[in-house]
C-alpha cells in the first residue's frame, strides 16, 4: 500500500471527526435544558438554595460562556477552539475543564473497559471458534452455549447479583468503589492490589455480559469457513487439525470480528455508564452519565469526540490492515 492510500485514509479520518463533531454539537442543543440552570436546580433540590434572581445569574453565566451568541457563531467558536485542541470547560462543574474531567476519569475506564473488552474478545472468539470446530469436545460447546444464554441478562443485574453474593454474602471482594474507604491513591504495591481487587467484580459483570456475543458471531464465521474449499484442501493435504484450526480457520474467521471489535468499543460505553454507576467507579462512563443528566454539552462533546476519534482511528486502521489478513482485498482499487 502506498503513502497516497494512507494519506487518503487520514483525510477521511479527519472528515469523520469533523462530521461527528458537528452532529454532536447540535444534538444536545435540541434540548431546551441549560446546564448552568441545572446546576442551580440540583442545589435547590437538595439544599434549600434559593438565590435572589436565578434567571439573572443564569444569564450572566450564559454570557460568560458565550451561550447567548447565535448558534452558528457558537459553532464556529467551538470548531476553532477544537482545532486548537481546546475542549473548553464543564458548564456544570465549572471551573473544571473538559480535558481535566476526561484525564481524571480515563485511567479508571481504560483499566476496566479496555481490559474487559479485550478479554471478552479473546475468550469469546476462542470459545466461539472452538464451538464451531467439529473436533471440539462437548463440554466446551456447553460452556459456549451457556455464555450465549447469559448474554440475555443485563450486565447491571449481573453486577448486582455478583455484589450481593460474592461481595456482600461471601465477603470475598469489596462491594463498591475504586479503592478502600479512607485510603488515598499512591504508588505502592498495596494500593495497586487494593485497586485491582475493586476492579474484579465490575470486570466480571462486563465480561459475562459480552462474551456471548463474540461466541455467537465467531462460531457463525467458523462454520461458514469450514465449508470453504481451502479448508477441505488443507484437510486432504493431511495437515494436522491444530494447524488447520489455527492458520486456516481462526485467521480467516477473524477478519470481520476485528471490524466488530472497533464497533464493540463504542457499544461498551453504554454498558460502562451503567456498570460504573452500580459499582461506584469514577470513570468516563460516570462522567458522561452525569453530563447527560444535566445536559452539560461541552463535556458531552468532549467525551463523545474522544470516543469517536478512538473508534474512527481503529476502524481506519483495521481497514488498512484488511489486505494483510485477506490478500484478495486491494486497497487502491
Amino acid at each position: 500500500m502506498s503513502l497516497w492510500v494512507i494519506g487518503r485514509r487520514i483525510l477521511f479520518l479527519l472528515m469523520v471527526i469533523w462530521a461527528a463533531a458537528t452532529i454532536t454539537f447540535f444534538i444536545p442543543r435540541l434540548s431546551s435544558r441549560n446546564p448552568i440552570r441545572e446546576r442551580f436546580a440540583t442545589l435547590a433540590r437538595t439544599g434549600g438554595f434559593s438565590p435572589g434572581d436565578l434567571e439573572t445569574i443564569v444569564a450572566s453565566y450564559n454570557q460568560k460562556f458565550g451561550l447567548d451568541k447565535p448558534l452558528w457563531q457558537q459553532y464556529v467558536d467551538y470548531m476553532s477552539s477544537l482545532a486548537r485542541f481546546d475542549l473548553g470547560v464543564s458548564l456544570n462543574l465549572f471551573p473544571k475543564t473538559v480535558v481535566e474531567l476526561i484525564v481524571e476519569a480515563l485511567p479508571w475506564s481504560i483499566g476496566l473497559l479496555i481490559v474487559t473488552t479485550i478479554l471478552s474478545f479473546i475468550i469469546g472468539n476462542i470459545l466461539g471458534a472452538l464451538a464451531a470446530w467439529p473436533q471440539a469436545p462437548n463440554w466446551l460447546r456447553t460452556i459456549s452455549t451457556s455464555f450465549v444464554l447469559l448474554q440475555g441478562v443485563p450486565p447491571v443485574l449481573l453486577g448486582v447479583l455478583l455484589i450481593f453474593f460474592i461481595a456482600f454474602r461471601a465477603n470475598l471482594l469489596p462491594i463498591s468503589g475504586s479503592y478502600s474507604i479512607g485510603s488515598v491513591p499512591e504508588w505502592s504495591f498495596a494500593f495497586a492490589i487494593d485497586v485491582l481487587r475493586h476492579q474484579i467484580l465490575p470486570a466480571l459483570a462486563l465480561i459475562f455480559g459480552t462474551v456471548g456475543g463474540w461466541v455467537l458471531s465467531m462460531r457463525g464465521m467458523g462454520i461458514t469457513i469450514q465449508g470453504e474449499d481451502y479448508v477441505l484442501f488443507a484437510e486432504h493435504k493431511g495437515l494436522s487439525s491444530r494447524t488447520i484450526f489455527r492458520d486456516y480457520y481462526l485467521r480467516n474467521a477473524l477478519l470481520p470480528q476485528v471490524t466488530g471489535f472497533a464497533l464493540a468499543l463504542g457499544n461498551v460505553v453504554t454498558s460502562a455508564i451503567i456498570v460504573e454507576q452500580i459499582f461506584g467507579l469514577p470513570g468516563l462512563g460516570n462522567v458522561l452519565a452525569q453530563a447527560i443528566r444535566v445536559n452539560d454539552f461541552l463535556v458531552i462533546y468532549g467525551i463523545v469526540l474522544f470516543i469517536t476519534i478512538a473508534i474512527a482511528t481503529l476502524m481506519v486502521l483495521v481497514e488498512l490492515l484488511y489486505p494483510l489478513l485477506d490478500p484478495r482485498i486491494r486497497l487502491d482499487q
Partner: protein
C-alpha cells in the same frame, strides 16, 4: 500466522496509544494539591474572555497525598456515604456555582446560632445572643469573645457586617431576596456587637435567616479573607481558607472527601462543647443521582464499612437493622424508622394553566388519591400520608389542634378518597369519559404526567400513577433528569415535590402560595413555589400576617383562614410527610440523636447545617 501476530500487536499498540498521555492517575502529583494563587487574583472580565485557560490554573483534581495524611485508626474515623455535588477544591460558601454545605461544608462553617429541633430550643453559637427590640424592627447580635477563625484571627462584628451586607448586596447569594425585603442597615457597634435595622417588623428573620437548622440559614464568612478577593463568587477557597468550624479538609478526590479534627477549635476552648471524639470524617462519594443504587450502600452499612449514609426506603432500613443489630434508626428497630423532615410532599400543579386552573379538577385529583392504601402498600402500615403542607413539629401541632383549623378539616375533608365524587366534579368541570376510560375535554385528556425523582420517589409515584389512571386521569411518569426543570418552568402535569418551609409556625409554608410568586410561566418560579397560585384574598391574609409574631392570636387566626383556603381551593394535593430514615451504625460510634436519645437535640442528618452538632456529639463505642 505472522501477519496475524502483527495485527494483534497493532491493535494492542493502538489501545495503548489511545491511553497514552492521559493514563496518569491524577492524585499522585503532590503539587496539584495547591490552589494556584494567581488564579485568585483574576478579574471577572479576564474570566469571561478566557474561561478555559483561567480554569485550568484554578482547578484541582485532587487534594492531599498519602504521605501527608496522618494515621488515624478506623475506630476514630466516621465514615459517611453521600452523593457529592461540590467541585473539588470549592470550600468558599460564597462561590457560585458550586458550594453546598451538604458536602461536608457544614463541618467547616458555623452560624450565629443553631436550632435544636427535637429539643425545641436555640443553641447560640458564634453569637452569644441575638435580641429583638419590642416591635421587631431592630436586632442586636452579640458575638462570643472566644470565637476564632482557624488562622487565629478573632471572629468580630466586622465579619458579621461583611456577611450580612454581602447577602444584601450580592444577588448570587441565597438570602439576597430576604435581605432586600426586610433589611434597612447593618452596623457594627463595637468588636462584638452588631445591630441590624429592619424596614418593617421582621419577627421571623432571626430564625429563618440567621439561625442554622436543616438546610437553611447563613454561615458567617471571614471578612479578612474574602475582602481581598476581587471576584468573590469566583474564588474557590481551597483547603487553606480560614474557617471557624471544627474540621479541615485534608484529602479530596472524586471518590471521597477526608476531613480531620482541628485541635484548636475555639468552641472547645470556650467550653461550649467537649473535644469531639471523631478525629476524622471520611465522606464517601456515592456518585450518581441522590438515592440511586442504595442497595450497595445498605450492604456497606451492614458490613460496618460505613457508619451512616443518606436516608433509605422503609423496607431497606428494616432489612439493614434485621441483618446487623448494631445498626439503629431514629425510632430504633420499630417503624417508621425515621424522623419527620420539613419536606412533606404534594402533587403540585401549575394553577395558571388548564386544566389545573380549575379548582374542581385539583380537588378531583385529590379525591382520587387513596392515602390509606399508600400507607399500607408503600410504608407497610406506618402512617406517613398527610393533608398538610408542613410537618407536625410541636409548634405546628399546636396550630392544627386549634378549633377553627379542625373545623376546616371537618368541612373540606382533605383526606377523603371517593371516586364517584371525583367523577362528579370532573363532569361538572365539563369533562366526559372517553373510550379508554380517561377524562376528556375538547379532545384533550387531562395531562397527569407526574414529574419526580426516581431515587426518592421510585416507590410512591408508580402507586399514585395507577390511582390517577383508575380515576380517569391520563397519568404517566417522568423520571427523566429534566423533571426539576419541568416543575420550575411550570410545564403541564403534576409535580411530586416537597414544601421545605415551615418549622415552628405555618407562615413560611403558607407564603409559598402568595400571589407574588405567580407570574412568569416559562421562567423558573423560584425554589418550590410551583403552584403559582394567585388570589388577592389569600395575599391580603398573608400580608397581614407578615409583621406579626407567631404567638400573636391574630396571627394564629389569620393562619387558620389561610389554611382553610389551601384546602377549599386545593392549591396542591398533599400526599406524604417526608421521613428521613437514616441508619446509625453503633459499631464504632454511639450517641446518635434518636427518639429515645436526644443527643444534641437536632435531627440526625449529617448533611444538614446541624450535621456539625451530630458529628461532634458522637461518642466512641466501648
Amino acid at each position: 500466522m505472522k501477519k496475524f501476530k502483527i495485527l494483534s500487536a497493532f491493535v494492542i499498540l493502538l489501545l495503548l496509544l489511545s491511553a497514552c498521555g492521559t493514563d496518569t492517575p491524577p492524585a499522585e502529583d503532590p503539587q496539584q494539591g495547591e490552589v494556584a494563587p494567581e488564579a485568585e487574583e483574576e478579574t471577572a472580565e479576564e474570566m469571561a474572555e478566557e474561561p478555559a485557560e483561567e480554569a485550568e490554573e484554578e482547578v484541582i483534581e485532587s487534594i492531599g497525598s498519602a504521605e501527608d495524611l496522618a494515621d488515624i485508626a478506623r475506630e476514630d474515623t466516621l465514615v459517611m456515604g453521600w452523593s457529592h455535588a461540590t467541585p473539588i477544591g470549592t470550600t468558599n460558601p460564597w462561590a457560585v456555582p458550586g458550594y453546598t454545605h451538604q458536602d461536608a461544608g457544614a463541618f467547616m462553617w458555623e452560624g450565629l446560632s443553631y436550632f435544636r429541633i427535637f429539643a425545641d430550643e436555640e443553641a447560640p453559637w458564634l453569637a452569644e445572643s441575638m435580641e429583638y427590640n419590642d416591635d421587631f424592627t431592630e436586632l442586636t447580635i452579640t458575638l462570643r469573645p472566644e470565637a476564632k477563625w482557624s488562622d487565629g484571627t478573632p471572629v468580630t462584628s466586622r465579619d458579621v457586617v461583611f456577611t450580612l451586607e454581602g447577602q444584601l448586596n450580592r444577588d448570587t447569594l441565597a438570602y439576597h431576596a430576604a435581605f432586600v425585603q426586610f433589611v434597612d442597615s447593618i452596623e457594627a457597634v463595637d468588636d462584638l456587637t452588631t445591630v441590624v435595622t429592619f424596614n418593617q417588623p421582621a419577627p421571623r428573620f432571626k430564625f429563618e435567616v440567621l439561625t442554622l437548622k436543616f438546610d437553611t440559614g447563613i454561615n458567617i464568612v471571614p471578612a479578612h479573607v474574602l475582602e481581598e478577593q476581587e471576584d468573590i463568587a469566583g474564588f474557590a477557597g481551597g483547603i487553606e481558607m480560614p474557617h471557624s468550624g471544627p474540621y479541615s479538609v485534608v484529602a479530596w478526590d472524586n471518590t471521597q472527601k477526608i476531613l480531620d479534627l482541628r485541635e484548636d477549635w475555639w468552641a472547645v476552648e470556650a467550653g461550649l462543647i467537649d473535644t469531639p471524639d471523631v478525629k476524622r470524617i471520611v465522606m464517601v462519594n456515592l456518585g450518581g443521582q441522590v438515592g440511586a443504587n442504595m442497595e450497595a450502600v445498605a450492604q456497606r452499612i451492614v458490613n460496618n464499612e460505613m457508619d451512616t449514609a443518606l436516608d433509605f426506603r422503609q423496607d431497606i432500613i428494616q432489612s439493614i437493622i434485621e441483618q446487623n443489630p448494631a445498626v439503629t434508626s431514629h425510632t430504633g428497630d420499630q417503624p417508621p424508622f425515621g424522623y419527620l423532615d420539613w419536606w412533606p410532599n404534594s402533587l403540585w400543579m401549575n394553577t395558571l394553566v388548564p386544566p389545573y386552573d380549575d379548582a374542581r379538577v385539583r380537588r378531583a385529583v385529590s379525591l382520587a388519591v387513596d392515602r390509606d392504601t399508600i400507607d399500607e402498600i408503600v410504608y407497610s402500615g406506618a402512617q406517613v400520608t398527610t393533608i398538610y403542607p408542613f410537618p407536625l413539629y410541636p409548634g405546628l401541632e399546636n396550630f392544627v389542634a386549634r378549633e377553627d383549623v379542625q373545623a376546616s378539616i371537618e368541612t373540606h375533608d382533605p383526606r377523603r378518597f371517593n371516586l364517584e365524587e371525583s367523577a362528579a366534579l370532573m363532569e361538572e368541570a365539563g369533562y366526559t369519559m372517553n373510550g379508554s376510560g380517561l377524562w376528556e375535554k375538547d379532545g384533550e385528556t387531562v395531562n397527569a404526567t407526574i414529574h419526580g425523582f426516581p431515587g426518592i420517589h421510585g416507590d410512591i409515584v408508580p402507586v399514585l400513577e395507577q390511582m390517577l389512571l383508575n380515576a380517569g386521569f391520563d397519568a404517566t411518569i417522568n423520571f427523566g433528569d429534566d423533571s426539576f426543570q419541568q416543575m420550575a418552568d411550570g410545564a403541564p402535569g403534576l409535580y411530586m415535590f416537597g414544601h421545605g418551609a415551615s418549622l415552628v409556625d405555618p407562615y413560611a409554608a403558607l407564603e409559598l402560595f402568595h400571589g407574588r410568586f405567580s407570574e412568569s410561566i416559562g421562567t423558573t418560579a423560584g425554589n418550590n413555589r410551583f403552584s403559582r397560585y394567585s388570589n388577592p384574598d389569600y395575599d391580603a391574609i398573608l400580608d397581614e400576617m407578615a409583621p406579626l409574631d407567631a404567638n400573636d392570636p391574630r396571627f394564629q387566626e389569620l393562619a387558620a383562614q389561610a389554611i382553610d383556603i389551601y384546602w377549599s381551593e386545593q392549591i396542591d394535593v398533599p400526599v406524604i410527610q417526608w421521613l428521613h430514615r437514616i441508619a446509625y451504625n453503633q459499631t464504632y460510634w454511639t450517641n446518635w440523636p434518636t427518639a429515645d436519645n436526644l443527643g444534641p437535640g437536632v435531627n440526625g442528618a449529617f448533611w444538614a447545617h446541624t450535621g456539625m452538632l451530630v458529628v461532634t456529639g458522637l461518642e466512641k463505642a466501648e
